[in-house]
Structure formats: structure tokens, C-alpha cells
């Protein structure tokens, strides 16, 4: 999966995934059931029963799991900062060619 790209930029260089607020999360796991990309992992026997296991599987700019969360426990990076970063990396890659 290492060559996965988003808009021509390696996915691993884009910082986009949900962050779980453990103060709010009640482990209903609706987000995990919803996400088809395997971003989360359920760990029944640990204190944090839900983690973001595969952040780079997360679709850049998608916030759909956050919209399933009744407690508003998922947050995402700022979109325009992410776009800016993607543009910078693209420029950098182009100038290296």
C-alpha cells in the first residue's frame, strides 16, 4: 500500500485522519462499524478500546465517521491547512523531477 497517493502526493505525507477524544468517547463503535476503510481498530481488552490503527487508510477530506458520532468525539485536521500542505508537497516533488 506504500504507493498509495492522493492527488499525486504519497498518502503517507498527508496528515489526515480522525482523532479520538477519549474524554468523550463511550466506545459505541458506530464509527468503526461505519468506516469501510479499516481506519479504526477495536481492542476489547485494553483501556483504550478503540484506536486509530491505520491513519493512512483514511480518505483525505472525508469526515463521515465524525458525522456518525453522537458525542462529537472525533475531530479532524483543518482542511485548508491540509490543502496547503498537499500543494507544497506537490511543488517539492515537481522541482525534484
Amino acid at each position: 500500500m506504500s504507493e498509495e497517493t492522493f492527488m499525486g502526493v504519497p498518502r503517507s505525507r498527508i496528515d489526515w485522519c480522525p482523532t479520538i477524544d477519549y474524554e468523550k468517547c463511550n466506545y459505541c463503535m458506530d464509527c468503526d462499524k461505519f468506516c469501510p476503510h479499516n481506519v479504526f481498530e477495536v481492542r476489547e481488552n485494553e483501556e483504550k478500546k478503540l484506536i486509530v490503527k491505520n491513519p493512512h487508510n483514511c480518505v483525505v477530506f472525508c469526515r463521515a465517521c465524525g458525522k456518525t458520532c453522537g458525542l462529537d468525539a472525533l475531530s479532524f485536521p483543518d482542511k485548508s491547512a491540509t490543502t496547503k500542505k498537499i500543494k507544497e508537497v506537490r511543488k517539492e516533488l515537481e522541482s525534484n523531477e
Binding site: 492522493f6 492527488m7 458506530d30 461505519f34 469501510p36 476503510h37 480518505v59 483525505v60 477530506f61 472525508c62 469526515r63 463521515a64 465524525g66 458525522k67 456518525t68 458520532c69 453522537g70 458525542l71 462529537d72 482542511k79 485548508s80 491540509t82 490543502t83 498537499i86 500543494k87 506537490r90
Partner: protein, 284 residues
């Protein structure tokens, strides 16, 4: 006369926002000719409410984004005329809501002001007719998987990797979602339009559409100012399921920097590849 609704609140009794949803519903019934649908009784008995929901426009009030009331409406096959979510109202008004299930002054005030707004609302007409996009030709390539058909227009459309499209004429753009979105959501029951005049950055949120399954944020392929929204979708969001490229378009914008936006968009060939991969990997 849409100050009269059939009101379906979530009535989530173990959460303060659910209790506020209930309060808003009670306020509406008290102050207008609205009728109340009890979500608990509705779940076990249709007879009483189905007729009511058919007679008046349905207003759904969800407390939080678990969207129990919306899901109930979807399950019962009801047409949603209007929808609010209390957590959104809380955010928009910048108020604090406590955890207590007994409503305090600020919660009651919030409920009152939402009721007020709902009763006022019908006067505000956000009308801005769409522009004629005379150069669009609709010629589709089809990708099939099981019973699902995914159409992608061959010419004139650009796409982002979030399955939204744009068509451009001069400095005007029309934006919508691709077939992949409507197939994944299945029956779309609600459209939240972006505000006319709003300035949207590329990849910013351009309203949202929602089904019983999920809420999809429309991710704008271009930057610009919203000049029109597809008003028909408000009463008939199913137009997006019928054809999201034609009658199911979402909004129009006046472009601010299409040349630079374009660098981040895919043409037909690029998007068709992305679509095939997504369908093969995720569409079951």
C-alpha cells in the same frame, strides 16, 4: 403555510440534547398547528402517525448525530421536508449546554429561539435560479458491479478524488456528486444546501446530503462564491439518486481561481480509474 409541521423529534431522554429536541417539538406544537409524532410509539405502531406524516410536511428533530429520528423516518419511508440537529444549533449559536437532563434556563432559551426561527423561516426565500449550462453534453461510460451501475460522464466534467464533479463555463461552475456517492448512500432523504454568497475554498464543504445510512459532506472541487443551489433538491432529494449529473446537481459557484484548482482535479480517464478501484475494493 408550512408553519404547520408533522414533528418527529428524537426524544433522547438520556441526553440533554435529546431533551432539548423534545422541548423544541413541544414548543412547535404549542405555538403552531403542528402535530407531534411520538418516536417511541411510532416504532411499534404505524397506523397512528403515517397518515399525519402524509398530510403535513415532516420536520425531523435530531438531538445528536446518532440521528435516531432521521433513521426512523428513513425506515418508515417518510419524506423529510425539514430537518434540524440540536448539536448543530448549539454550535451555530455558540451556547453551552449542560449535561443535566433537566433543562435549565439556557437550554430552555435555546429551545425557544429554535422554535422562533422555525416558525419564521418560511418567509425567507433563498431563490437564485441556476444558470443554463448550454455546453454540457451527457454521454456516459458505465462501470457495472453486481446490480450496481456507476455512470461517469465522458466529456466536460472534472472530478476530485472525493467523488464530486464540476463543470465550468467561463467563470461559472456547477458542482455535484458522482454516481458512486448516491449508490453508496442509497436513498437520499435530505439535502442541506450551502449558503448563497458563502465563500468556499477548494475541498471545503458545500452542503451535505444524507440517507438512512450516512451523511455525506459535499467536498467542493473548486474555490469560489456560491451563486445558486439546486432548490429542487430540497423537496426532492431523490433527484440525486436518479441522476446526480443532471437534475441532481448541487450548487453553482462563481470561480475565483480555476486555473490553480484544476491542478488538483481529475479528468474522465483519471476519475474512471479511481472509481473502478473504489468499487472493486469497497462496494459490496
Amino acid at each position: 403555510m408550512s408553519s404547520r409541521y408533522a414533528v418527529l423529534p428524537c426524544n433522547g431522554l438520556d441526553k440533554s440534547v435529546g431533551c432539548i429536541a423534545r422541548e423544541i417539538a413541544l414548543g412547535l406544537v404549542d405555538r403552531s398547528e403542528s402535530d407531534l409524532i411520538c418516536p417511541v410509539l411510532f416504532r411499534v405502531s404505524d397506523a397512528r402517525y403515517s397518515k399525519m406524516a402524509a398530510e403535513k410536511p415532516l420536520l425531523v428533530i435530531d438531538g445528536c448525530s446518532t440521528r435516531c429520528a432521521s433513521k426512523l423516518a428513513a425506515e418508515k419511508g417518510l419524506k423529510v421536508a425539514k430537518k434540524i440537529t440540536v448539536t448543530e444549533e448549539v454550535k451555530n449559536r455558540n451556547v453551552k449546554v449542560g449535561k443535566s437532563l433537566k433543562l435549565g434556563d439556557s437550554e430552555l432559551e435555546l429551545a425557544g429561539s429554535v422554535v422562533e426561527e422555525l416558525l419564521k423561516e418560511e418567509k425567507k426565500e433563498e431563490s437564485a435560479a441556476g444558470h443554463e449550462f448550454s455546453t454540457i453534453t451527457y454521454d456516459y461510460e458505465i462501470y457495472k458491479k453486481d446490480k450496481f451501475i456507476f455512470r461517469v460522464p465522458r466529456t466536460g466534467f472534472y472530478f476530485n478524488e472525493n467523488d464530486c464533479w464540476v463543470v465550468v463555463e467561463g467563470n461559472r461552475a456547477r458542482v455535484g456528486v458522482a454516481d458512486y456517492v448516491q449508490q453508496s448512500l442509497s436513498d437520499i432523504m435530505f439535502f442541506t444546501p450551502p449558503a448563497i454568497g458563502a465563500e468556499i475554498e477548494q475541498f471545503g464543504e458545500l452542503g451535505s446530503i444524507e440517507s438512512g445510512k450516512a451523511v455525506f459532506e459535499v467536498i467542493s472541487p473548486v474555490s469560489g462564491v456560491v451563486t445558486a443551489v439546486n432548490e429542487n433538491l430540497i423537496s426532492a432529494p431523490e433527484l440525486i439518486n436518479e441522476n446526480p449529473y443532471e437534475k441532481g446537481w448541487i450548487a453553482e459557484l462563481e470561480l475565483t481561481d480555476f486555473e490553480s484548482d484544476k491542478e488538483f482535479l481529475l479528468d474522465f480517464e483519471g476519475y474512471f480509474k479511481v472509481l473502478k478501484r473504489k468499487v472493486d475494493e469497497f462496494h459490496v
